[in-house]
Symmetry: C2
């Protein structure tokens, strides 16, 4: 009769994922158990919460109503966990970060490795996302973005600025006439993002330069730089990525230099979550350091 509070936790997962198996993956419990706990909750509430089918679980109107309250409970439970600063000196558990692929590829691996070394109990998951992450749905605990969100209640914190320049491989440059100015670029092949898959205006570098056509495109910056590295063309790349592609050279650095900024976005409700606060602190500091280190290495 009186519901088990923990069943609400699995209810939320199922409501979000619309599937027992996906919810099970997220919660790291067996889908069968997930199904049984939903059934138990329905029994104790004496109401159908989902319409069940082989292609998933979808909320009934009653379930929708329950979801509203469940989210409130979740917020409270999250704040509760956060309020006990976890007396232990070291962080533990699981933290998931969403980030644009440049950051995820070239910065987070080293930074997170260092954090993990210092906190052996901590598991970090890096979500490299080809789209703006939906933090409201709790897809991640925090997200790194290139523009501050305008709507929604979030904690926004500047991480650091970083620079981008035009790059091409040494071999490519040797084979061509020296590129003297921006005008000369018109005769070159460009590598960039897939135009209609650019999810943030800040990432639409090429439009800033006036380039209209992208011959080789990928949704992954590392694929782009890989192609540039093979001598396929000219590309806009992060300075901090260059040490990973030794034969890439910056070009026209005096005539074209882009600056962008990383932000750390968190849920408003996590403001007093000491655990996440400490992690965020370590993360931003780590990224800042790493950008400085890599950009210095790339400057000559």
């Amino acid at each position: 009769m009186v519901p088990n509070w923990d069943d609400m936790r699995v209810f939320l997962a199922v409501a979000r994922e619309e599937s027992l198996s996906a919810a099970g993956r997220r919660l790291k419990i067996d889908p069968a158990t997930v199904g049984r706990r939903v059934a138990r909750l329905e029994a104790s509430l004496d109401a159908p919460l989902f319409t069940k089918s082989q292609q998933g679980y979808v909320l009934t109107p009653i379930g929708e109503r329950l979801l509203d309250h469940g989210l409130k409970a979740e917020e409270a439970m999250r704040a509760a966990s956060g309020s006990v600063s976890g007396s232990s000196k070291t962080l533990s558990g699981q933290i998931r970060i969403g980030a644009p692929d440049g950051c995820a590829t070239y910065l987070l691996p080293q930074v997170c490795a260092k954090i993990c070394d210092a906190n052996p109990e901590l598991d970090i998951q890096i979500l490299s996302l080809p789209r703006v992450i939906n933090l409201s749905r709790r897809e991640a605990d925090m997200a790194i973005t290139v523009s501050a969100p305008t709507a929604g209640r979030f904690l926004v914190q500047k991480i650091t600025d970083y620079r981008l320049h035009l790059v091409a491989s040494q071999e490519y440059l040797n084979a061509q006439a020296k590129i003297e100015n921006l005008e000369a670029l018109r005769r070159h092949r460009f590598i960039g993002y897939i135009p209609d898959m650019i999810f943030d205006r800040e990432l639409d570098y090429l439009v800033d330069i006036g380039v209209e056509r992208v011959a080789l495109a990928s949704n992954s910056i590392s694929v782009q730089l890989g192609q540039a590295s093979l001598g396929s063309g000219v590309c806009v790349g992060h300075d901090f990525a260059l040490p990973f592609h030794p034969n890439l050279r910056k070009i026209l650095t005096d005539q074209l230099s882009l600056t962008r900024r990383y932000f750390l976005i968190r849920h408003q409700g996590d403001q007093r979550n000491e655990r996440l606060n400490r992690f965020a602190q370590a993360l931003t500091a780590g990224i800042r350091e790493e950008v400085v280190r890599l950009e210095a290495e790339a400057s000559p």
Copy 2:
């Protein structure tokens, strides 16, 4: 690592009761289990929540902080349960009502019996309290009072007015000179509440009449009426109580008649709790009917 939400439920009970066994009684689970679940919560939060001793569990500062969030979670869970109208036609589970003793003694038994008959799955607990009930601490789901609360966020609903008169036993009246007016009362012995235990000004009937001395006192109205019934003196009694004391007679009804009002108090957060709404509806209707019936019976 990730806490079991249901452990928060038992944490709240222990925090309130400050004892494993009392919490166990309230939750209807074994004290040993309560202790183990608290231990598990502490382990998953990695923080000491209680200082434990043989005389009970008392919150640590960390526990205090957790309590705040836990209460929020509880509110959300309560609202969640309430939001699903419990598709079944009949009420079930457990509902606890606090009430002043007059109401608890002479009205609620019949009214609640009727409600229970109509809802076989429902358990009703009547808390007859010698003090103003602390609804904020969730000692009860709802409370009946004689004055509307001034502070706090509560739902207040008038139930019904009721009347009180001076009463004495037939035998007592026969043995005395006829009491013609209020002035004549000065020579009689009064039965009433224990003066310094009156918790609500509305119950301080005798001061309204001008009586200063109470010879026989009890904190229980049924004890008072029992004494009056034995011919020990004059007492202020509820009209609706008289049918239960057949040899009591109202006196000076034309010169002294008190009217009081019962209110039903509920938690603001329960406003959309269909289950409690339905119960409250049945309760107020039942009390209203019962007062009318009993007062009619007492009038001749």
